[in-house]
Symmetry: C2
Subunit: 252 residues, 2 copies
């Protein structure tokens, strides 16, 4: 970063900068223990409180995390790569892979906390799905867990009248999932819009995703459309930002 | 969120939930003043410390922000919409609009702090641009400011040997910008990869982007390729997450 290295910055900030740079350069890799308070006091000739503040800057940024009684460690960032475009390529729907398996290669992504219910549509969903007054939605909630760590919460909304009687209203949607079932009933999704935001998690989200302090969530809202442009699903996803890289490949 | 409304949660959390829900429902809109400590004490029959904690939950989440002496207000979220795919459509390059103008409609996005220099390539850039040992890069840094508020930092890296002598090495790249100049010298970018992450900002980033507390940054790393698949530019962008929605539209 330009314009930041001047000497008027507080000492703990400058120590934090030095450590951050050492992490960026690879001197300390993911999972490595950072110098402790005593080390920093000796190296930089500062008081314990200054050393502690320096480490806490890196913790607040999510670059490092404290482990009880063991010290402060470089955060492990071994994220999932979620490919927005290839991932939804139609050839993947039919052959037994869920749309998610392309993201994880040899790591096991499990789905838990699946619930399906018929509910009144929130206003924003009603607007996007172009629902009539009082029209309800089939709401599918689930959580994705990687190697025991929850990484993503997803809530899909589909017009209840459209999916009534299909396996979309059941917990197990069967091979190819919701999109394969939509195709079978004549509403194959072919156009997609993904909107992405990021913010700090609510306490409830942080709990459900077992998140560390100083980590934001990424919000991905995906709308799926048929070839006539009819919106058939809105999927609101909340991702632990420490667990994901999103990727989009496209042509000019 | 499911499974969170039970009554064993601390009172300040439940008050925060009530306020958050009132914000989501639109009862309090962007920029509205939230009930103060005295109001919350009276309404919920709690101590001042509890009321204060409730408001600080919303501040920490970035949902609300304190204004000195005036109270706590719902954060204004009036983001830019950055369209990843249409935005780069080639027809926009030539006709006098920068690739950014599609994002902002009638709002004025200004570029400042432009610097251009010839530098040693960081390892990750060397790897992506497939550079020879010791090959340097043309580094273009700049900041984008919306209505006086900085919203995005961008650093582009291009192989120095490839762009030598072109306007890409000057502060003003001319109409159509870097991509139009690349096209003129025979390296038209036609394929793009965008990778997206989110984390808390470093102190330096927070300062450069004038960010409020409790707000993450979105990192977008875009790589541009010619039709032969040669990588010609890596652009590392740091976005104030409170200022942006990213949008990608695509077909299955």
């Amino acid at each position: 970063m330009a314009n930041t290295g001047d000497d008027r910055r507080p000492k703990y900030q400058r120590i934090a900068d030095t450590l951050r740079e050492a992490i960026r350069s690879g001197e300390y890799g993911p999972g490595d223990r950072l110098p402790g308070e005593n080390d920093l006091m000796a190296t930089h000739g500062v008081a314990r409180m200054t050393a502690r503040q320096a480490l806490s800057v890196l913790r607040d940024e999510g670059v490092a995390e404290a482990r009880k009684g063991a010290g402060v460690f470089v955060r492990e960032f071994r994220p999932l790569r979620r490919q927005g475009i290839q991932r939804l390529a139609q050839q993947q729907w039919g052959n037994g892979r869920s749309i998610w398996s392309a993201d994880i290669e040899n790591r096991s992504l499990e789905v838990d906390q699946v619930t399906v219910s018929d509910e009144a549509a929130p206003d924003r969903i009603s607007a996007v799905l172009d629902l009539a007054d009082e029209e309800t939605v089939c709401v599918r909630r689930r959580r994705f867990v990687l190697d025991g760590k929850p990484v993503l919460l997803a809530t899909s909304y589909l017009p209840a009248s459209l999916v009534a009687g299909s396996a979309i209203t059941e917990e197990e949607t069967g091979q190819g999932g919701t999109y394969a079932r939509l195709a079978e009933i004549g509403y194959k999704p072919v156009h997609f819009r993904e909107e992405i935001r990021s913010r700090m998690p609510s306490k409830a989200e942080a709990t459900q995703l077992s998140m560390s302090a100083g980590t934001p969530v990424i919000l991905v809202c995906r709308t799926a459309y048929t070839d006539e442009g009819r919106p058939v699903e809105v999927n609101e996803m909340t991702l632990d930002a420490a667990s994901y890289i999103l990727e989009y490949d496209f042509d000019a």
